[in-house]
Amino acid sequence: MAIDTKQEQLLERLLLHFEIEEFLYREAELLDERKYDEWLEMIAEDIHYYMPMRRNVKFGEWERENTSDESEISWFDEGKVTLAGRVRQINTGLHWAEEPVSRVCHVVSNVQILDVQGDEVRVKSRFIIYRNRLQDETDFFVGKREDILRRDAQTGWKVAKRNITLDQNVLLAKNVTIFF
């Protein structure tokens, strides 16, 4: 097989891309299978987990479109301690908003590698998360994630930063008790 340099680079990118897709799909699988503790192991200790609110703004004034993680209220703006707290809460079996637990499906798509810096890879993806619970309560959460994934020689990939863009203004769900 005659692989030229350009194709070699392509192949290298492709292998990285595949590794990352595998990682993101496994993450989705753990969440949907409610293996929250295993999921937490995929999360770096210093994660910044962030989902802004979205505003309707004038064309071009995009800097005001998302709430700021420096000075404003968002939907999520937290670290691993809180994520771990959320997991413990569900695991009590008494977190009524998730008891009985929802049927959740994380569909991850459009995985793009934006940038590689040493051990860190900036990855963009799109998600459609379907939540169905009790008899017929149903929500769609649709949007994008921009992650920084960090490769750790010992323990594999970790999510070091997650910036979630939910494509909604008024939240079209009564609450959010799932992970993105």
């Binding site: 989902m51 802004p52 609110m53 505003r55 309707n56 703004v57 004038k58 004034e61 005001r64 709430t67 700021s68 000075s71 404003e72 209220i73 968002s74 939907w75 999520f76 703006d77 937290e78 809180t82 707290g85 959320r86 413990r88 809460q89 569900i90 695991n91 009590t92 008494l94 977190h95 009524w96 908003a97 203004n169 008024v170 939240l171 079209l172 769900a173 009564k174 609450n175 959010v176 008790t177």
Partner: protein, 456 residues
């Protein structure tokens, strides 16, 4: 509109026996009557002046189901306008916030000044022959009141003043807008208002929030394992800040005839500071100093702390010294509430304090908050439960503490019960009943000037 007869409503809301029909939470005609009788007449919470600091600033808000604009005009005066063009109704402003000189309608281009006047009509001469009476076709404007920086509005020119509307509840509400050191008008809104839809009748959260102490230990049973409070694990993981040990009276308070109520503590000023931010010394220092300044300011006075609700749909928390969030439960159809949550901080606090509070708010409150996500679940499902043919034959039980109310101005204003009771919920419904029956403000306290109604 078909009006529900007074006696039908009184049968449904039997406060003497502490039962309320499920029907009131699900009946479409009752809901329409609420929009007319309550939301078109009561004083409603709009926002805070810190949202529109500069001339020309505006921000969207709601009154009942309807979109309004809070605007600071070219000269600096505040206004609340219905966000609708007088020509064919299109929203004249479709951005959530911004700054502008004019609101120009995207349909036919009528434009309105920031003080609401219709100032531009395309083809005014060529098509309207100069005859359109522009001065009669400005944006509909509400009466407003600025209460220590918070903005309130009513559509009813006949409504009493906001002070009268609030009555003695002023003493309970005023601390909400005080800085951490107790100075009035000391807060600012953190940017970003949580907004979400909940499939629940607006009265479930509006009649119970901060007057339903009993739900906490069950609804929020799971949250302590997450230790979201400022003290972290220190206090058994309590979701609230550490409670002071200073002697204080816990009271359920209700204002008969006004509909406001809440859960408050009353104490003599002078308590020592309670350690709260164990792991963040710089935050701790700030709050300790603020606390001391506050104790000095109020030395010899009674201090009221807590959370409550201003009739009909504004509620707030104020437990501990630190939390100052508001929720407004906008009606959005008989089965849906559009929930808005505003979060305040002392406007002079250092950024790291603002940040610490901001993070705590996000952990606690709103639809994503670890505490309140469970409230949504219960409020949600209480609504279809009120709908069933058989279920509607079984009124809800509002009897907790019924008959144990007392009045003692030496302790605090209003009717009191010891912690816990449902008198606040009964009282909000007593007011609801008055609003639903009165033909106009002339028939209703405080405007009517008659004796205060009993309340429950």
């Amino acid at each position: 509109m078909v009006m529900f007869q007074a006696n039908t409503l009184r049968d449904m809301v039997d406060l003497e026996h502490g039962t309320i029909s499920r029907e009131v939470f699900v009946n479409e005609e009752i809901y329409q009557q609420e929009l007319e009788q309550i939301f078109a007449r009561a004083w409603l919470f709009i926002g805070h002046e810190s949202q529109v600091p500069k001339n020309g600033d505006y921000v969207q808000s709601k009154m009942g189901e309807e979109a309004v604009l809070l605007v600071r005009d070219r000269k600096g005066a505040l206004h609340v306008f219905l966000n609708t063009c007088r020509h064919r109704g299109m929203k004249v402003c479709r951005y959530d916030e911004g700054n502008t000189l004019l609101f120009t309608c995207p349909f036919h281009g009528w434009s309105y000044d920031t003080d609401g006047r219709l100032v531009g009509v395309p083809e005014f001469q060529s098509a309207y022959h100069g005859e359109l009476e522009k001065e009669k076709w400005g944006l509909p404007e509400a009466r407003i009141h600025n209460f220590y920086g918070s903005i309130w509005a009513t559509w009813d020119p006949d409504a009493p003043s906001f002070e009268e509307y609030l009555g003695d509840f002023e003493q309970y509400l005023r601390p909400l807008f005080q800085g951490d050191d107790g100075r009035d008008n000391g807060v600012e809104l953190i940017g970003g208002v949580h907004k979400w839809y909940m499939p629940s009748n607006w009265k479930f959260p509006s009649t119970s929030f901060q007057s339903d102490g009993a739900h906490g230990s069950i609804t929020h049973r799971s949250v302590n394992v997450a230790a979201i409070g400022p003290q972290g694990d220190a206090d058994g993981g309590d979701r609230h800040p550490v409670r002071s040990k200073w002697p204080r009276v816990h009271l359920e308070v209700a204002m008969p005839g006004l509909g406001h109520s809440g859960h408050f503590t009353v104490e003599e000023a002078g308590a020592p500071y309670t350690e709260t931010w164990q792991t963040q010394p710089e935050i701790e220092d700030y709050y300790r100093e603020a606390h001391e300044a506050k104790m000095k300011r109020f030395a010899g006075q009674k201090l009221i702390t807590g959370g409550g609700g201003v009739f009909p749909n504004m509620v707030y928390q104020g437990g501990g010294v630190i939390r100052k969030p508001i929720a407004v439960w906008h009606p959005a159809g008989v089965y849906t509430t559009e929930c808005w949550r505003f979060y305040f901080v002392d406007r002079n606090a250092p950024q790291e304090v603002k940040d610490a509070m901001r993070r705590y708010y996000m952990r606690y409150a709103g639809p994503v908050g670890l505490t309140e996500s469970d409230d949504m679940e219960n409020w949600n499902y209480a609504t279809p439960a009120s709908k069933g043919t058989i279920a509607r034959r079984y009124p809800y039980n509002y009897q907790m503490g019924l008959g144990h109310e007392y009045v003692d101005p030496s302790i605090a204003p209003g009717r009191l019960t010891p912690h816990r009771a449902e008198q606040g919920q009964r009282n909000r419904f007593a007011r609801w009943l008055e609003f639903m029956q009165a033909n106009n403000w002339g028939d209703m306290y405080p405007r009517s000037g008659g004796p205060k109604p009993l309340g429950y």
